[in-house]
Amino acid sequence: MPSPPMVTEMLPAEDIQALGFPSLQVGAPRFQPEALQRMAGVRFAVAAGAKPTPRDARKASRRLHEAANAFYRNANPQTAAALLEVSLRHPHELVRVAAAVSYLDVAAAPTPALRVLEHGLRSSDRLTRDISAHALGHVDPRNPGLARLMEQRKKPSSRRPSRTSLIVHGTWARTSPWWQPPSGDFWHYLHDNVDSDLYGAPDRFEWSGGYSDAARALAGNDLGAWVQQHNIGGLDLFTHSHGGSVAMLANHAGTRVGRLVLLSCPVHWPQYTPDFNAVANKVVSVRVHLDLVILADRGGQRFSDNRIQDNVLPIWFNHFATHDPGNWVLYDVPSML
């Protein structure tokens, strides 16, 4: 049975709980904008829409602090909804879009939030676009703005699977020693303990490690070409960080994968997703709690598509803990694969 569409979960609930953020019950009552504005002590000139008027944006900025304080003093559906009502006119689009996502759950009429999200789809900021797309995908999957994201994917290749495996490093890590064969500690550990077929010849795959869509797109193409050149389609990929994004791009471009292991991979859904039809074995994610590098990347922390097996190690913050052989032994990571 196909899985439901996945929403990027920016911060897992247990992490939010551990940090002490207020939480609310789902299924709260729905409110009219006028009532929320009264509660927030503000009256906006026009209904929330694609972009606030400069005057409403100024009003929102002035009231936001008090609305947020009211919510943190007394976290309930009304104070939360009032905070969202104000945030829908915030000068920054990311704040408006984030507010619109939750506003859909508390507002009597969804139209203002939908307008904000539709506008967010055209944002120059990737995170704003991603959040808008995820939210619209849930409430209005036929929205024309989403059509571009729903393009037909390439068909998987019919190449025979192979048992070879490969490490794909992440951002800025091309010269990092940990993944380099034959002496890098993680390469050495994987080769000796997990997969003796791990690729270790001097022409192993590497990429620029650049931090841009263009760098990752080039790397995805290069990885596909590398696999084709070595005639090892169906290989297992052990990826770290945005190396996972590179692997997913190659996978979508037709590279068949046996098992895809995503270590501390930032979630940018639907920009970087596996092509499940071209993964013969399974997709496994291994991560830590509240990864600080992923936070700086503005990516999601956890894949919530049930076709990706999610494993969280009892470690906080450390992006690089997932390629530490000591942690693989201590937490028996091979049993998760």
Binding site: T171, W172, A173, S208, S212, A215, A296, D297, F317
Partner: protein, 120 residues
């Protein structure tokens, strides 16, 4: 890298991008040389996230041969077309890592530029 180190990097980024205080941006460039892989990674991310604002700092770092194997790639990531001649110059560098980074920077720059043109 712990939360405090991340907070420091955020503070530097925020100070630099909101006020233009260049020393804060330079501290991010310097952090590319940190012994902490997390600090290096996030500093590089923040420079790229700043986009064109990072271009003068990247240029300065290139002239000073500071963290070249990273800043040459960053030049490509931020689409610094103006620095293309600098990148070309480094493709023949004696240090193979620097030469490779320069070639990568040029490839990324070309891909980013053609992508931007295709969108127009």
């Amino acid at each position: 890298m712990g939360p405090l180190q991340l907070a420091r990097l955020y503070a530097l980024k925020s100070l630099w991008t909101s006020t233009g205080f260049r020393s804060a941006g330079r501290a991010l460039v310097d952090a590319l040389d940190s012994s902490d892989e997390g600090v290096r990674t996030v500093a590089g991310m923040f420079l790229v996230q700043a986009g064109k604002q990072a271009e003068p700092l990247v240029e300065e770092a290139i002239h000073q041969r500071k963290n070249l194997s990273t800043v040459l790639v960053i030049a490509g990531d931020i689409g610094a077309v103006r620095l293309e001649p600098e990148l070309r110059r480094f493709t023949g560098d004696a240090d193979p890592q620097v030469a490779k980074a320069a070639r990568d920077g040029l490839r990324i720059l070309a891909a980013a530029t053609s992508g931007a043109e295709a969108k127009q």
